[in-house]
Symmetry: none
Subunit: 155 residues, 2 copies
DNA sequence: AGTCAAATAGTCAGAAATAGTCAATATAAT
DNA sequence: ATTATATTGACTATTTCTGACTATTTGACT
């Protein structure tokens, strides 16, 4: 049971362990070359093995000099938050629900008062309606980003 | 992450830090020579990293003896923040410009590192593209909300 | 003062260098 | 045999970099 995808997964996780870092930066094309496969195979690995719910977060930049980063999320933190991330991923979120969630984060001391106010100015803002029909999907995606950031080890 | 553009950006910012001055005068062609690139690359760097909204202002003179100056704008008090808000309100904002502004707010201690990470996870996120053609207008509006909140609240 | 050459800087379209998406196909597991 | 997982490649998206062309300023020479 050693598929290409699994070997790439192992390679990346070993690299993180070696560096003893919570953040690893790689180039898609280079990785693909190392494993003699198509670049999109790397995306497959990231999508199936490094999802937020699995404790990793991936960000990337295209263009010349582009690359992607894999960030390890904290495991010592509240598992309730992780559950939330999974739930949030599934559906849209109304303004009221988002406000409620932010309030809860404040009450449970996951965020400070100031952070709450800043985030609230965004999440419960009228301007999200610039996204038209996607307003609630956008709000949900933004809330997920917030939770993921709270789970970052270096937060 | 070390593109030519980033290295030139760093070079300029280091120079400013060294001189401990808020104003730096450079020659486009000389800079281009130092980095062995075409002169227009310098314009690219200025346009993407030293915009007014990012806390820098560039002024230039053509002709023999021409050069350009980079002036570091201060965003250290409320009235300057207000000015920024006005400017921002007028136009759309790219992801990179927004990141630059957040960086500046962090540098000037308007926001903490954690606040920076939270806001950055939102403002520079892919998901804003859910707003379609309005992505940059949305980003601009959100940045405005953030600044207004910073003003309103006793941080 | 007027003209022209030289020395700057600016603009913009497109090439180059990345990464992402999606659907078709192949392989493995049940 | 059917379903789940893995692999590939064609097409798309984004960011950076380059070069040809344009604009402005100065200075020297009528």
């Amino acid at each position: 049971m050693s598929t290409l995808a699994s070997r790439i997964e192992r390679y990346i996780k070993d690299l993180m362990a070696e560096n003893d870092s919570d953040c690893l930066e790689l180039k898609r094309n280079e990785l693909a070359q190392i494993f003699t496969c198509v670049p999109s195979q790397i995306n497959y690995v990231l999508e199936t093995r490094f999802r937020d719910e699995q404790g990793y977060h991936v960000v990337s930049r295209r263009g010349a000099g582009g690359c992607f980063q894999i960030i390890r999320l904290s495991v010592t933190n509240d598992s309730e938050l992780k559950e939330l991330i999974t739930k949030i991923s599934e559906k849209d979120m109304s303004r009221q629900t988002a406000e409620g969630l932010l309030n809860r984060l404040l009450e449970e001391d996951f965020i400070t008062k100031n952070e709450f106010m800043l985030l609230n100015s965004i999440i419960s803002s009228e301007v999200l309606s610039l996204a038209g029909d996607n307003e609630n999907a956008l709000r949900s995606a933004l809330m997920k980003n917030i939770l993921v950031t709270l789970l970052r080890v270096d937060f």
